[in-house]
């Protein structure tokens, strides 16, 4: 369980997180939605201990994020940020192998290698494994990063806008793989996502943020209503039931 | 600087003010300050010359006219012209951090003088000066040519490219200087120094004064060029001609100043930026201020360099290097807070 207590973060005079308290239970996919500047990515980054908070605390299975030893924590929770630009030229397999670093400190065992191949297989990356990252398309590269994070074999996986720069087809396949990671591998996945309809169709829980606070939290059915979405996004959204998922229509 | 004056939006302030009474008052005050500095500069030095002795003692008067007056004049001329050269380069590259010593211009001028010294060891000053100007021109054109190939015109990559270009050119210069045993000679014009200035050895600097005046005459065209090629051309400006003229002025000023007194680093960077904060970027309004401030700062640095280690003198270029680099750093780091 991830637990946030009175979490705050300010940049200069602007408050990005304003006393957020929240629990994310184990298992399933949790989506975080909200308008730009609501503090979604900041919150995720603090949970992933890439950024220090200004107040409050975050615990993961009772471990305090600030004080947990880095290596142990890295076996429990992994995070993938939006922009990943490496100066080193890596192949896909090289990158995925780094996911085993918390477990083996770079000396890979037979079991580690098996895990690497499993992660490559899980994301359909086997044919690309020897390719350099800068030779791949955006969607392929994004899958490679996700494979690294999965290879880390943590209970919790945090993904910051994993659909960024993906076309429709790749976005759908990414969401399917995330769903599958939760269902068949038993991961707890938390994603920050812009597209409310993807959140609705693929997650078990949705957290809606606004102005540095959690405005709503609940199942897709509870969040995907015109009233809630109007309140969160300041936008009239018509919600319809399409193919078993609640879809918001807001284009005109 | 920016904190003490509401200079963040100089354009908007400028329109409603115009050259009103306050403007003239400020100009008068600045002029008086530079005048006062110049007077101090006239009476500071190794031999003891006071205004009283000037009246009574003909020897003192002779010395005064032979060395003190030329020195102060040279400082004012060189300071003003280098600052104007910086202003022009900033207009042409649309970049606040460019000036002759961050664009390879000054380094090219040094290389030019060195090559002439090697090829024609006894060449008189005008020949060296011409070589310096030609080399400065080529160096500046090279810099602009390189810039044209840079797609990403981030304001920081431009001075980076210029500084690196300068470093590479300097390496060539040092190589030849080492090869021909001219390292010491090279040192004399690498750091600007006015201690050797006297009557008969500074008059070339009037040329750069004329260049500064020329810049003032074509100020409006330079301002438009500073808005970028697209706007300039669509307004109907002969952009190429203005760039050619601007580059010519910059090369000539740099070449002459380097060959007569040596390098005056960062002057062209600091002065136009300070002026721009107060009066904005209109060249015609800016040039008089740039001249005044440039001359004033150089005279002040020269006084410091004469006083700090009496009876020895420190090259003013060395003092300027410290002051200039410090101001440049403040500008860079302050920019971060704004952006």
């Amino acid at each position: 369980m991830i637990e946030l207590t009175e979490l705050t973060k300010t940049y200069g005079s602007s408050t990005v997180l304003d006393g957020v308290s929240l629990r994310i239970e184990r298992g399933g996919v949790t989506s975080i939605i909200g308008p730009n500047g609501a503090g979604k990515s900041t919150m995720l980054t603090i949970i992933g201990r890439l950024l220090a908070s200004d107040g409050g605390r975050v615990t993961v299975d009772g471990m305090d994020v600030d004080r947990a030893p880095g290596r142990e924590f890295a076996k429990r929770l992994s995070i993938l940020r939006q922009e990943n630009q490496f100066t080193t030229r890596l192949t896909v397999r090289d990158l995925v192998r780094f996911g085993r670093y918390p477990h083996s400190q770079g000396r890979l065992t037979a079991e580690d290698h098996a895990q690497v191949e499993a992660a490559l297989g899980f994301l359909d990356l086997v044919p690309l494994a020897g390719r350099f990252l800068d030779e791949l398309s955006g969607g392929q590269r994004q899958r490679a990063y996700v494979a690294m994070v999965l290879c880390q074999d943590t209970d919790y996986v945090l993904l910051d806008e994993p659909l960024n720069n993906l076309d429709m087809k790749h976005a759908v396949s990414m969401m399917r793989q995330i769903r599958r990671a939760a269902d068949s591998l038993g991961k707890t996945v938390v994603v920050v996502i812009h597209d409310i309809n993807f959140a609705s169709a693929y997650s078990d829980r949705i957290i809606a943020m606004r102005e540095g606070r959690v405005a709503y939290s609940g199942t897709p059915a509870e969040i995907m209503t015109s009233e809630v979405l109007l309140d969160v996004f300041d936008l009239e959204v018509r919600v319809e039931e399409v193919g078993g998922a609640r879809i918001g229509v807001y284009y005109r | 600087m920016a904190a003490t004056t509401p200079a963040t939006a100089p354009g908007t302030r400028q329109q409603n003010r115009g050259p009103g009474a306050r403007g003239y008052l400020a100009a008068a005050a600045a002029g008086a300050a530079v005048l006062a500095l110049s007077v101090v500069s006239l009476f500071v030095g190794a031999s003891d010359i006071t205004p009283a002795r000037l009246v009574g003692d003909p020897d003192a008067r002779e010395l005064f006219l032979l060395s003190r007056v030329p020195r102060t004049l040279a400082l004012l001329l060189a300071g003003a012209a280098m600052s104007v050269a910086g202003l022009i380069m900033q207009m042409l590259t649309q970049n606040r951090f460019v000036e002759p010593s961050t664009a390879g211009t000054v380094q090219s001028a040094s290389l030019g003088i060195l090559l002439v010294t090697i090829l024609f060891p006894g060449a008189p000053l005008p020949v060296k000066m011409t070589a310096a100007c030609v080399a400065a021109l080529l160096g500046t054109l090279l810099f602009l040519g390189v810039l044209r190939r840079v797609a990403l015109k981030s304001s920081l990559i431009v001075p980076l490219v210029g500084i690196m270009l300068g470093a590479v050119i300097s390496a060539v210069t040092t190589f030849f200087a080492l090869r021909y045993g001219l390292l010491q000679t090279l040192g004399t014009w690498e750091s600007g120094d006015f201690s050797g200035i006297m009557r008969g050895r500074y008059e070339q600097l009037w040329l750069v004064g004329i260049m500064a005046l020329t810049a003032y005459l074509v100020a409006d065209r330079l301002t438009v060029a500073g808005l970028g090629r697209d706007i300039a051309v669509s307004i109907g400006l002969n952009y190429r001609a203005v760039v050619a003229l601007g580059v010519g002025i910059v090369a000539m000023v740099s070449g002459v100043v380097v060959s007569v007194v040596g390098t005056l680093p960062f002057l062209g960077l600091i002065v136009p930026n300070l002026v721009s904060m107060v009066v904005g970027d209109h060249v015609r309004k800016g040039v008089p201020w740039v001249c005044l401030l440039g001359g004033g700062i150089l005279v002040l640095c020269d006084i410091v360099s004469r006083v700090i280690r009496q009876p020895f003198e420190i090259p003013v270029g060395t003092v300027l290097g410290v002051v200039g680099a410090a101001v440049f750093l403040v500008m860079l780091l302050r920019r971060r807070n704004v952006g």
Partner: protein
Amino acid sequence: MSAEQDVRPEQGEEQARGPRRLGPRTVPAWARIAALAALAVLCAALYLTYGVSGNVAYVVERRTTVVLTMLVVAFAGAVSTVLFHTVTDNRILTPSIMGMEALFVLVQTCLVFVFGIAGLSALPPVAAFLSQTALMVVFALLLFQRMFTGGIGSLHLTLLVGIVFGVLFNSLSRLMQRLLDPNEYDALQGRLFARLTRADADLLPWVAVAVVLVGIYVWRRHRLLDVVSLGRETAVNLGVDHRRVAVRMLMIVALLVSVSTALVGPMTFFGFMAATLAYQVAGRHEHRYVLPTAFLVGLCTLVGGQFVLEHVLGHAGTLSVVIEFTGGALFLYFLLRKAAR
């Protein structure tokens, strides 16, 4: 999935023209390192023995000192630059370009300024060297910590700030040197403007020990460095205490820069050249290949360059200037290539 095939065409072509020609993986990295090592040995042998006549023992001894100096300098320049690249997660910034050599000169000048040459000479050279290095590390930490942790912002701003810091340090040194007594000024000049071929031989054994210890320390952490080179966020995600590693590596960088500058004076672009060529030559990203490759490339450049300049072209003493020129041009090329995208 057909998407597997949608390799970006422009990058694919670049690939075909670029490193692919050699085949990044066709020649194994260890074979490349062995070839470089052989080349370095060949250069050294040529340099040591070429045209030896007269007092053979003296000439060979003198040249051996030069080669040993170059060994240390190549190690210091190459390793410090690679470490700096790794920790800052970029391949443009180098310690020298960021003004650390200039900082060393400034620290030296300050020490002479405060204690005088006599006072400084009274100290045993090793103690003097260590105290200078310590001061240098402290200054470097104060100055560069923010840059290391990305506190300054964009890469170009960091780079420009570093360069201007270097200019400021140089100007300050020059100013303070001018304020010195002329005798002290001369003595200091002698200390600061050492050349590759005229290094302080007494310092060499001590420096060699320091360099070997540093080498062992770094080598034992090559896997950690692989992770750090992925950038702070990825490294933290993989359980690395990035801050601690960065500070320690910065201290090592400061030590190596001090060593190199004390021995042979500033060489701004040497490290950049060695590291940049090494990335191309090694064809691999792992530090266990990159570090030795960079060291050997640096060594070949120094010894081979000295051999060519001294015995073929007859320009002894200009090697550092030639490196300055080629390294500077290479740097400019990389800067423009990055900016042209």
